[in-house]
Symmetry: C2
Subunit: 245 residues, 2 copies
Amino acid sequence: MLADTSETSSRPNVKTILKQLEGDGVIGISVDCVIFGFDESELKVLLIKSDFKNYEGKWSLLGNLVNNHEDLDQAAYRVLKERTGLDDVYLEQVKTFGEVFRHPAARVVTIAYCSLINVQHHEIKKLDNELHWHRVTALSDMAFDHKKILDTCYVWLQKRIQEHPLGFSLLPKKFSLRELQNLYEAILNVKLDRRNFRKKFFSMNLLEDTDEYESDVPHRPGKLYRFNYEKYQKKERKKWFGIDF
Amino acid sequence: MLADTSETSSRPNVKTILKQLEGDGVIGISVDCVIFGFDESELKVLLIKSDFKNYEGKWSLLGNLVNNHEDLDQAAYRVLKERTGLDDVYLEQVKTFGEVFRHPAARVVTIAYCSLINVQHHEIKKLDNELHWHRVTALSDMAFDHKKILDTCYVWLQKRIQEHPLGFSLLPKKFSLRELQNLYEAILNVKLDRRNFRKKFFSMNLLEDTDEYESDVPHRPGKLYRFNYEKYQKKERKKWFGIDF
DNA sequence: AATCATTGTGTAAATTTTACACGTTTTCTC
DNA sequence: GAGAAAACGTGTAAAATTTACACAATGATT
């Protein structure tokens, strides 16, 4: 009730820290994680109920103050681990938000991270039962400027997923092409042609054929594939994509 | 000599502030501007000689601590204005660097901004004669982690310029297609076909035909064009670019 | 008047993207 | 176990985009 679980931690001294920041006229630094998951063919985001008094009951991103001795990325990993128990996840810095009055208690600059996790392989620590997966598209009101942060990360993801192989982090290690296509369709909110989609991915030569098939589907099972990160790394990047705007 | 002009300001109390940060175990926040210019068909970056003792004589980005009452963008604008006298410039946040020991005096998290200015239209305040334009490709050693920041911003620019109309900020309002092509070739470090380049830009329908021509060129002068930002703004953005990685 | 340097322009070939349909495989139900 | 339902897996032709490439026109310089 004293400290918001996003902007601050569950450490007992957060309120104190914010007070101190306020008093000293010093700027606080936090990280906020936009944790995306993919479930039931929908893009979800992991949120927590804010207990910060100005925003009681509103949804908030998972975040925390950055410790003095830890790098920003480390801080984001820590938040992620504390909340989800996962540490082997995709995590990338997206943007820093630092408007003067974005936090009501003190000046806090927050570095937003985007994280992608595979919802299946992971049981959220339900100690904290204020934690919930939300459909990304069905969110309006949020605590602080977190809606803006979420929107920024979502747009970032939409673009990023078309140019980098991050989408696979949202899927099981072995996945069918249908799942992959559903993922792209859900995130980009478009309908894609199945044959062209397959053609595209096969032509990249980065999908490895496992010899397994889907199970528990009520129809002909599809082949399962695995993304070959090594091969991807070795690929040379072109610097010329063509001008287009 | 006491305070570095990039990480800190020429305000007299910077050393004090850093000391205080250090003592309190509080994290400082700065902005650093990577100011790009285009001159003699080369991409340049505006740097200053560091007077911070650990990095004496090394080149440093232009930066400063963020004031309590100003937004991050404002802080970046302030730095830019203080150093170049310009305020109507392209400025965009790129990435935040926050490694624990990136600054020797205290923990300072810095938000890197990329700025693009038209070198012609602007006389650098030469009060500060430690300020110089450097070829981007001919830089190795820099103060702090500024080389890393510069590299990040350069790569960012290479990508960005192909997808957004920022390049024009590096040119005069009226420019020839040759200048524009030189710009792209210099930044991307590629050779482009002149006819295809022209075709591409004309097909976007965003270049306005001024009825003027180059002057002072020792050959047939080219037509001058102007970029139509309004038209660009109104254009609808597609969300599907095609998967490619 | 001749030379030099650069502008401005079009077309054909190659590549990439798009649109589109049917036989196959497995599960489920009766 | 026969038939229906659902999704899998596959290829080709048309359209659009990208690439490669050459020559006449213009203005400046001598």
